[in-house]
């Protein structure tokens, strides 16, 4: 039996314990990340054994393509449309649920339910909700005296329709994040405010909202980033239509890779999307650094 020092034995054990995960990460995470980079400079259709290096041609073709910019616009439209609504709704939910009331766990669960249900099922249900002739949404509109709309068949309303559904789906998740933020605010702050005679609205405006700064920033970033990568709803509900009004970058990527077999092009789209998300995240950080309060 080889006698190893304690250090070496630990290292050997660590190697054994880490080998499976390291292997999987290398093959399916790090590998693809690097592969994608090189792929974006190539032209390959997956069938022929020739991959030709074409430099920046993929990126150039995208920059020159109005379709690409339409998709980019739609993606930003969807993301920017989702953020305020789902944050506001999540915040309201959190503020309501945060009180010591009976049934708060029940309401918290109800609000979170859309988050756990699969996007495909939700998409199909909402297609029926938005049905121009027999759907609930139009029934709701008529109740408040508005005209029924064609929703997903209307090039102007299709995207807002998707945004509304997305807000509905994610508000519960933001609620949970806000709840944690709320519970991290020290109660002594509220007590001090009460002594000074502050009412609910003023303590919200001067304590709650500023102290929620970091949480709100975090939620904004997460919501925005996830919305930029939307795919399932588009694939299920509109397939990019009508008139490309709901075609987004992930959907374009999917089409380029799996319909047109232009792997290099798809990789370039992916990197563009990454850059957009990255830039906006930096911008958000700069913007919020100037506004965040921290306790102490």
């Amino acid at each position: 039996m080889i006698s190893l020092s304690n250090r070496n034995r630990q290292t050997l054990s660590a190697m054994v314990l880490l080998a499976p995960s390291l292997l999987i990460f290398t093959v399916f995470s790090f590998g693809p990340m690097i592969y994608a980079f090189f792929l974006s400079f190539m032209k390959w259709d997956m069938m022929s054994p020739n991959k030709s290096f074409i430099g920046l041609a993929n990126y150039q073709a995208l920059v020159n393509s109005p379709e690409f910019w339409k998709n980019t616009f739609n993606t930003f439209y969807f993301a920017i449309g989702t953020v305020p609504g789902s944050i506001l709704l999540g915040l309201v939910m959190a503020l309501l649920v945060n009180n010591k009331l009976r049934g708060r766990v029940f309401f918290r669960g109800v609000f979170f339910t859309p988050v756990v249900t699969s996007t495909v099922a939700i998409s199909i249900v909402w297609m029926w909700v938005y049905h121009p002739d027999f759907g609930v949404m139009n029934q709701l509109l008529q109740w408040v005296g508005l005209k029924p709309q064609r929703w997903l068949a209307d090039p102007v309303l299709a995207m807002p329709a998707l945004i509304i559904m997305n807000i509905w789906k994610h508000a519960g998740y933001n609620m949970i994040l806000f709840l944690i933020g709320l519970q991290n605010i020290s109660p002594t702050l509220y007590e001090a405010a009460k002594i000074d005679g502050a009412n609910s609205w003023r303590s919200f405006k001067h304590i709650t909202w500023p102290m929620l700064g970091p949480t709100t920033f975090f939620i904004t970033v997460i919501t925005f980033n996830n919305a930029m990568k939307v795919f399932t709803q588009i694939h299920t509900m509109t397939q990019g239509g009508p008139n490309n009004s709901t075609s987004v970058l992930m959907y374009l990527l999917y089409q380029e890779a799996f319909r047109n077999f232009r792997m290099g092009r798809a990789a370039a789209i992916a990197y563009f999307l990454f850059c957009f998300i990255f830039i906006i995240t930096i911008v958000q950080k700069k913007f919020s650094d100037r506004k965040i309060y921290y306790e102490n």
Partner: protein, 287 residues
């Protein structure tokens, strides 16, 4: 003066009750709004076809058409889709638990060169933008000959950095005295893992299991591109293709199919709500 004081505290009591009523009202209204699509789904799933196409829409069907649910399984092999989703979700869940348990232990309790850097690298995988690796990962899986196979759906998701992070936190919270006592009793590294750390980590495992199972059950893009034969469809893919092949008229059956596909996760969630919500955010929520 006593009378005046009493009036003040009465007013405060009434004020509190009014606020409570207002909060409950708003909560209930919001809950209704959130739940309406689900009710619409269930209500439509129990309608006869003729009842679907009426205006204004009917909320309570004249007769509960349970045969729609039978139709779901007749028109498409949903039982098959269920089994596939089950196989994939359970396999991914088990693999993620195993790899997380192992890697987390190494990071939490062993000392070896580059430990911190390697851990950062693992965390870094959480930063990798998912859309960037989708196409190349597909090409790699294709190169391995794993397109249209179970392993193609399972193996790329066998490790979850978040799971490793979670378990490492948990392991680090176990007192070191136990370690030392075990060493004195002659227990080696792996002995400690199996006899101390794994048994104690059961709560963490449970929460991780739920999180990964539900995430895998609902996954769409990856199975969509990996699988192209109907006998391997997961329930999400099957549902999606069911919708496009059945067209406009079978909304009731479609709603039944949708309900059936969310039911397992919904039940899971309802019974373990507390666990799940706490995991997905990774920290504790006070009740």
């Amino acid at each position: 003066m006593l009378v005046q004081l009493t009036r003040q505290s009465d007013q405060r009591q009434i004020g509190k009750i009014i606020i409570k009523i207002v909060i409950y009202t708003i909560l209930s209204l919001m809950a209704v709004l959130i739940v309406v699509p689900f009710i619409w789904m269930i209500s439509s799933s129990l309608k006869e076809s003729a009842e679907l196409f009426t205006y204004p829409p009917v909320w309570i069907p004249k007769r509960l058409a349970f045969e729609n649910y039978v139709q779901v399984f007749r028109i498409a092999p949903f039982w098959r889709y269920f089994i596939n989703s089950g196989i994939v979700s359970v396999s991914v869940m088990l693999l993620q638990m195993v790899t997380s348990a192992m890697a987390a232990y190494a990071f939490a309790r062993l000392v070896f060169p580059f430990r911190e850097k390697l851990f950062l690298l693992y965390l870094g995988t959480m930063m990798i933008p998912s859309q960037v690796i989708l196409v190349p990962a597909f090409l790699i899986v294709s190169g391995l000959g794993w397109v249209n196979t179970y392993q193609g759906m399972i193996v790329p998701h066998a490790v979850l950095a978040f799971g490793i992070f979670l378990l490492r936190q948990f392991y680090m919270s176990i007192p070191k005295n136990l370690d030392d006592a075990a060493t004195i009793d002659g227990c080696g590294t792996f002995g400690k893992l199996f006899r101390i750390y794994l048994p104690l980590a059961k709560p963490a495992f449970m929460t991780l299991a739920l999180y990964t199972f539900m995430g895998e059950w609902n996954r769409f893009f990856w199975p969509l591109v990996i699988v192209n034969s109907q006998k391997l469809y997961t329930i999400q893919i099957g549902l999606r293709y069911f919708m496009s092949s059945e067209g406009e008229n079978l909304w009731n059956v479609l709603m039944a199919a949708s309900f059936v596909s969310i039911l397992p996760v919904l039940l899971f969630f309802l019974f373990t709500q507390k666990f799940y919500i706490e995991t997905i955010v990774g920290t504790g929520l006070k009740d």
